[in-house]
Symmetry: C2
Subunit: 401 residues, 2 copies
């Protein structure tokens, strides 16, 4: 349970606009005089700021309070299998500075994290950011995480990372706390809090990249499941004959992920089904998602067919998820989502065909608006959430700890 001061801070932070003491009292159930005490404490800490722009109800205008976005920086790191993004954000999760670099996750935690730390140091130096300004570190990784400890749990595509103490790595360089979550959870939280949320409280964010995963916002909160594994849709059976790395056949990921698309494209190129793709194979040696994307623009029939098939398979799984979870928004992100309208249309068609009418009555299915920034933005949001919660856990009534 949050301390009262932390509850007041959360209400202020999550509101879209500045709040008066009376509004805070109404929304928390705390008495007006107690709200004043908490506000005073937060003002002294400089974590909130006051403004006088409230609407007057006759007398002088009431003061309003909002988060001090400039309170400090959050270091947010989004790690994929082949790329890492490093961002410094303010306390409103706006990206101040960002840097991207190639990595190879199978080089293991020491090598990869040292490389990322070098990026961080460079980004901070280039922009004159002192370590003391960084109040928290948030990281997203492409595998299941035990959130309380920040350790990867048997991550299938991160060889060498199982159980690695990522938090300890960062604490050698920074004094502030570090939090680690699954990458798609961070993306879902980013899209929910700062992206396309339509005021909805029930949202599923689907990342279609090399693999396929999802992050779940239920009743306004990120749902991680009993052991941090919630949102796995990659292994739903779509009846395809392809063998998946998990040992089963028919998995969605093996049929419709980015890797599946390029593998099939290569096969069809070599089978002489597409001149365009054959030329790519001959010139580059291999087909990448960027070539499929270009193929769509050139109206290459095989590229179009593969993307439509992928969207259709994803839609069949989402149809079941829609019946089961009854969200009001599905946000589609990840590299493959950038294929655009054709891909989205195939997903929608499949969902509306197969879901129950009641479940789709008010359902919106859209492309993520934060794009490739969803992860770092959500990582920063998650980190600030945790800083507030941790202040309570350690029985400290002040923020930051």
């Amino acid at each position: 349970v949050l301390s009262m001061t932390a509850q007041v801070l959360q209400i202020i932070r999550r509101a879209g606009s500045p709040l008066s003491k009376a509004e805070i009292a109404t929304q928390t159930g705390i008495s007006l005089s107690a709200v004043s005490d908490h506000i005073e404490r937060l003002l002294v800490q400089n974590i909130i700021v006051a403004s006088n722009i409230g609407v007057s109800s006759g007398g002088r205008k009431p003061k309003q309070y909002s988060l001090n976005a400039g309170f400090g920086c959050i270091l947010s790191v989004e790690m994929g299998t082949a790329h890492a993004q490093v961002a410094l954000t303010d306390f409103d999760c706006r990206i101040l500075f960002m840097k991207t670099s190639s990595i190879r996750i199978d080089e293991g935690p020491e090598a990869v994290l040292n490389h990322i730390y070098t990026m961080v140091k460079q980004l901070m130096e280039d922009n004159g950011i002192e370590k003391v300004s960084v109040k928290g570190i948030g990281m997203g990784i492409p595998g299941p995480v035990e959130f309380s400890t920040g350790r990867p749990i048997s991550p299938p595509i991160m060889p060498g990372w199982d159980g690695y103490p990522i938090k300890s790595f960062w604490s050698a360089f920074f004094e502030c706390p570090c939090y680690v979550d699954n990458d798609v959870n961070n993306m879902a939280l980013g899209e929910y809090s700062k992206g396309l949320s339509f005021g909805t409280n029930n949202m599923i964010y689907v990342k279609v990249g090399t693999g396929i995963g999802s992050g779940l916002i239920y009743d306004g909160r990120l749902y991680r499941g009993a052991t941090g594994g919630a949102g796995d849709i990659g292994h739903f059976d779509v009846g395809s004959p392809v063998m998946c790395w998990c040992g089963n056949k028919g998995c969605l990921e093996a049929a419709a992920g980015g890797k599946a698309i390029v593998t099939k494209a290569q096969e069809m190129a070599l089978a002489g089904k597409s001149e365009y793709l054959l030329q790519i194979v001959q010139e580059k040696g291999t087909v990448g998602v960027e070539h499929i994307e270009a193929g769509l623009l050139r109206l290459d029939p095989v590229s179009i067919e593969l993307v439509r098939e992928s969207g259709s398979a994803i839609g069949r799984v989402l149809a079941a998820i829609v019946n089961f979870s009854n969200p009001s928004l599905i946000s589609i992100g990840g590299r493959v989502s950038e294929f655009g309208d054709l891909f989205l249309a195939a997903i929608r068609q499949s969902v509306y065909h197969r879901s129950l009418p009641l479940a789709t009555r008010n359902l919106v299915i859209n492309k993520s608006v934060l794009g490739s920034s969803a992860g770092v933005i959500g990582g920063a949001f998650m980190t600030i959430d945790q800083l507030i919660i941790q202040a309570t856990d350690e029985k400290v009534e002040t923020f930051p700890i």
Copy 2:
């Protein structure tokens, strides 16, 4: 947001054992002196009671507080398509008196609700319960519900009930508030709060009756979805050729529900595959689930095969749900769950075969312990929850409103 008094009441109510003021202060983040004020207010209302059985830490033993189970009665009604259960419970959701009767839901809301009201009146008269003792009414119905208004929304197996104002029906007879939810949601809440919960916060309750549905407890709270439709697993595609009432082929419900089992049993009896079942058809004209159950005990191969096939299909869908929702407990209830070990074993086998190892690491799959009482117990729990919330919404600091 709950008022502070209501928050204190919820903490006391949900604790398994009496709490001291200090424990309440720790769990709510409210100061000890404020806790004392709230406790005083609740004691005056008689909704909590004090005891002196706490462990002394040197001085006199601290007083402890618990819910006054005898504060009043809840009227809890569980309505199926063919039966209705009417129960009076205390404030600890224990069933004091119960009555069951046959109904025909397709006779429409007026006829059915009047019949149920007659049952209620009889039950109260027989046991000397006055109307004034009934503090709230909770009802579960076999279809989607808009929870805020208590109206059924396009319920597929309740002809004539769409949009019917069930709350208004009850308010003609009782002055206390009435709340209506989907039947499986009530069962899930019952099993979670008073049944087999192992201290878990993430549970899925699956009802296998004529149809198949589920209720979801995520992070300790019932999840209803954006429009009250969450938990629908009956229309997951299991690849069967049977047409479902929803217009699609392959739905789980059409392949593995109680109705599907007896339909197939009858076909196989007439095809001469089972002497036992043929005899039933000749004697009774039709096969019921009770005959399949008896067939299991007599080792009738067709009954065994049908039950195993049903469990296996349900397990395939639950495997996907386990990956996606990562629960720590799946509780199986409903009439078909009473088929026993063979049915449960088929479900487990399918789930462990197809789910990711990480998701099943600590997963328990068990039969519901509340059995056919889960719905009325959960309906009472839901009602008390809402009484507490409503006391806040209407800005009343006292309970009951």
